[in-house]
């Protein structure tokens, strides 16, 4: 079905915590200096990776589940307007109230207004990436409303006025002693004799939050899934803080991206098999809560859902990039990423780190926003993320696609061709025929001259200098391989061998290079 909508509108990009404030290489450079972060992160990513592998290989139908998950999400994107309307109808029919927010600002306003209507000045919160993305806590604080994070790791990060570094274990960059010190410093009710034993620390958090849970009148949550044909929302968690927030308060406000829909109740059977195993490496997470509007006599009687666009429709408009919206935030791609493992989550600037962040953030904000154009380069394109992704998002392909979007967008803004353009043109000329390449190779001895007696080139000029910033290049050989081959075979007089340097018939490679 196609609907004529008049002039194509400009994409409406997202705002909030989606930006890299500095280029990825600059941020990564700084983060790499943090040895504690790197050690913790290496340990964490490897441990979770191994656990994940164990529980994934246990299922005989893992690949079939991935295929189903991928197709379900693809169909969600293709039918998103209809699904949103269907969800709205079902959720509303059961007493829930839906609000729509174009961007971070609008979502924050809606939540603040809903809290004000209750007359409360405190809310308890369940870990949610969407509210982090829109910077809800900070906004509420400006409005005189205090938001208490209740997930243990989020609590640690919030108490320390820090930022999460991993979407699953946000405080992984802190060790137990640091956590104890934060508790002693920031929790007025903490026992001064608190030790750094994890069970002791967890119990301290329990005591600290329990009274909050039991007295809170308003909770704010995210949602992992929204099921269109039943109007149901789902939160997947471990600690029980989610159940507390979703069950005890009188008012529940959920903020969710518009892409989180699933068409049918049956689809949940796919995603509840894919998510826990990919995420924490468990067969099932300890607690999952599902609610459909208001349930009389059970849980909050005042139930709201804020449906958030904030750049998602812009990401959807990119036919190649739209599958980034399939993401179920499991963090598997982060745990297998050799770049993330070393730099950590802070280097990506945005709420969404790692391989998925490197594509999602620029898709939501537009590639030209702040330093987000540097994110698609934060990858070696090794493909480990694609293999691990439970919904089969082809992250490497989207990274390459976004790099070309980036290059194209810059080309338009500069009058003079960039060094990259000149370099690429030169390479295209040289590589387009054997003869030309042979000519270029004649220059190799010059490189040896540049390398000097230690046979190393330690600094290249111009943009190539990025490469030699952290590595040396060995001096080029005195003779090219093609040259050597030609000479060897001429001298040996083996007639059947082709002479690649002097071929007159264009080879297959030659043809390809000209396309």
């Amino acid at each position: 079905m196609t609907t004529f909508l008049g002039m194509p509108a400009l994409p409406a990009y997202g705002s909030g915590n989606l930006f890299a404030g500095e280029t990825f290489p600059a941020a990564a450079h700084r983060e790499l200096g943090n040895a504690q972060l790197r050690a913790n992160l290496g340990h964490a990513t490897h441990t979770i990776r191994d656990k994940r592998q164990a529980v994934v290989s246990e299922l005989p139908d893992w690949e079939q589940l991935r295929d189903a998950g991928s197709a379900i999400k693809e169909s969600v994107m293709a039918t998103l307007p209809e699904l949103l309307e269907e969800f709205e109808k079902n959720f509303t029919a059961r007493g829930g109230v839906i609000h729509w927010a174009r961007d971070a600002r609008e979502a924050n306003d809606i939540v603040a207004e809903l809290v004000r209507e209750t007359g409360e000045t405190e809310v308890v919160k369940v870990k949610s990436m969407a509210t982090q993305e829109i910077g809800l806590n900070e906004y509420l604080e400006e409005q005189g409303i205090q938001a208490f994070e209740t997930d243990l790791a989020e609590l640690i990060v919030q108490l320390d006025h820090d930022k999460p570094s991993h979407i699953l274990v946000p405080a992984i960059h802190k060790n137990r002693t640091e956590i104890r010190d934060i508790f002693l410093r920031e929790m007025p009710d903490a026992d001064p004799a608190l030790t750094d034993d994890p069970p002791v620390l967890a119990m301290a958090a329990r005591e600290h939050l329990r009274r909050k849970f039991l007295t809170a009148k308003v909770a704010v949550s995210g949602a992992n899934f929204a099921i269109a044909d039943s109007g149901t929302l789902a939160v997947v968690e471990s600690e029980g803080n989610g159940r507390m927030c979703l069950t005890l308060p009188e008012t529940l406000i959920t903020v969710m991206g518009i892409e989180k829909l699933l068409p049918t109740w049956q689809d949940l059977e796919v995603f509840m098999q894919l998510l826990p195993r990919s995420s924490t490496g468990e067969r099932m997470n300890p607690y999952t809560s599902l609610w459909t509007g208001v349930m009389e006599g059970d849980g909050p009687q005042n139930v709201h859902l804020v449906l958030l666009d904030n750049g998602r429709s812009a990401a959807l408009a990119d036919g190649m990039g739209r599958s980034a919206l399939h993401c179920i935030r499991c963090s598997a791609c982060m745990n297998v990423c050799p770049v993330y493992e070393r730099t950590g989550g802070h280097a990506y600037g945005s709420t969404y780190p790692g391989p998925i962040g490197a594509i999602l953030s620029p898709l939501l904000t537009g590639i030209q926003a702040e330093e987000n154009s540097s994110l698609p380069y934060a990858s070696s394109l090794c493909g480990a993320c694609y293999d691990a992704c439970p919904v089969k998002i082809n992250i490497p392909d989207i990274l390459v696609h976004l790099r070309s979007v980036d290059v194209d967008s810059k080309r338009g803004t500069k009058k003079l061709p960039s060094q990259m353009d000149v370099g690429m043109k030169a390479a295209s000329w040289a590589l387009s025929s054997g003869k030309r390449l042979g000519l270029v190779e004649k220059g190799l001895p010059l490189g040896r001259l540049a390398a000097g007696p230690d046979r190393k080139i330690t600094r290249l000029p111009g943009i190539a200098g990025g490469w030699t910033q952290s590595r040396d290049i060995p001096a080029p050989p005195a003779q090219s391989f093609r040259d050597w081959w030609a000479k060897e075979h001429r001298d040996a007089g083996s007639p059947g061998q082709p002479d690649p340097g002097h071929s007159h018939e264009p080879s297959r490679d030659d043809k390809e290079a000209q396309q």
């Binding site: 909508l5 409406a12 994107m77 471990s238 803080n241 049956q266 059977e269 959807l316």
Partner: protein, 212 residues
């Protein structure tokens, strides 16, 4: 234009290339084909792995088992619709019923009231053997969500007939629009140096009684 119309228009514009919704390949397992004994054995294995206490008993022994698990509890709460016979071991005289609090839609306990109660006894809607998951759907023998959340000790009875092999079988048996809680072991966190700590905000002790 309202935000709703605006967003829906943006989405429709973004989809101007009319991407096709693919057929969903559902080649994954729809059922496990396991027999009752196998199901019980697998469920027990998984629950123990989550550090829950499990006992497999004859249906007639459920009351005695509940009574012994409640020995240390000064007070306990049950939903009004709990299966009649299950509290037979508690005695209608003496301490058994004086320790009991009953939660009902007509007379729900307050949150503060629940906080002072040591244990809760509920039934369950369905269980998943492969993942060690027990699903509550707020039916009469499980009560509202708060009663199985606030007390620190949850005693949950699972009938053998309610055990499904894998998740798709279990979800087919329940109505998604009910208030649902899926429980796989006691609450846990791995947020501090990835060291698993059992029991954070939910009940720190989970006792499962599987009734044949």
């Amino acid at each position: 234009m309202s935000a709703r119309e605006d967003i829906l228009t943006r989405i429709r514009t973004a989809l101007q290339d009319s991407p096709e919704a693919p057929q969903i390949p559902r080649e994954y397992r729809a059922a496990s084909g396991m027999g009752t004994d196998e199901l019980i054995e697998l469920l027990v294995d998984r629950l123990v792995d989550y550090k829950a206490q499990v006992a497999v008993v004859q249906e007639s022994d459920v009351p005695a088992r509940i009574a012994s698990l409640l020995e240390g509890a000064k007070t306990y709460v049950v939903p009004e619709g709990l299966d009649a016979g299950w509290l037979a071991g508690m005695g209608d005289d003496g301490t058994g019923s004086s320790r009991r609090r009953t939660d009902s839609p007509a007379e729900p306990l307050s949150v503060a009231g629940l906080d002072g109660i040591d244990a809760v006894v509920t039934g369950s809607a369905v269980a998943v053997a492969e993942t060690g998951t027990i699903i509550l759907d707020g039916s009469a023998n499980q009560g509202r969500r708060a009663i199985s959340l606030v007390p620190d000790h949850h005693i949950c009875v699972v009938k053998a007939a309610d055990i499904a092999g894998i998740l798709p079988e279990a979800l087919r048996r329940i109505d998604g629009t009910r208030p649902i809680t899926m429980i796989s072991g006691p609450s846990a966190t791995s947020d501090i140096e990835l060291e698993r700590v059992e029991g954070v905000h939910g009940p720190r002790r989970l006792d499962v009684i599987i009734a044949r």
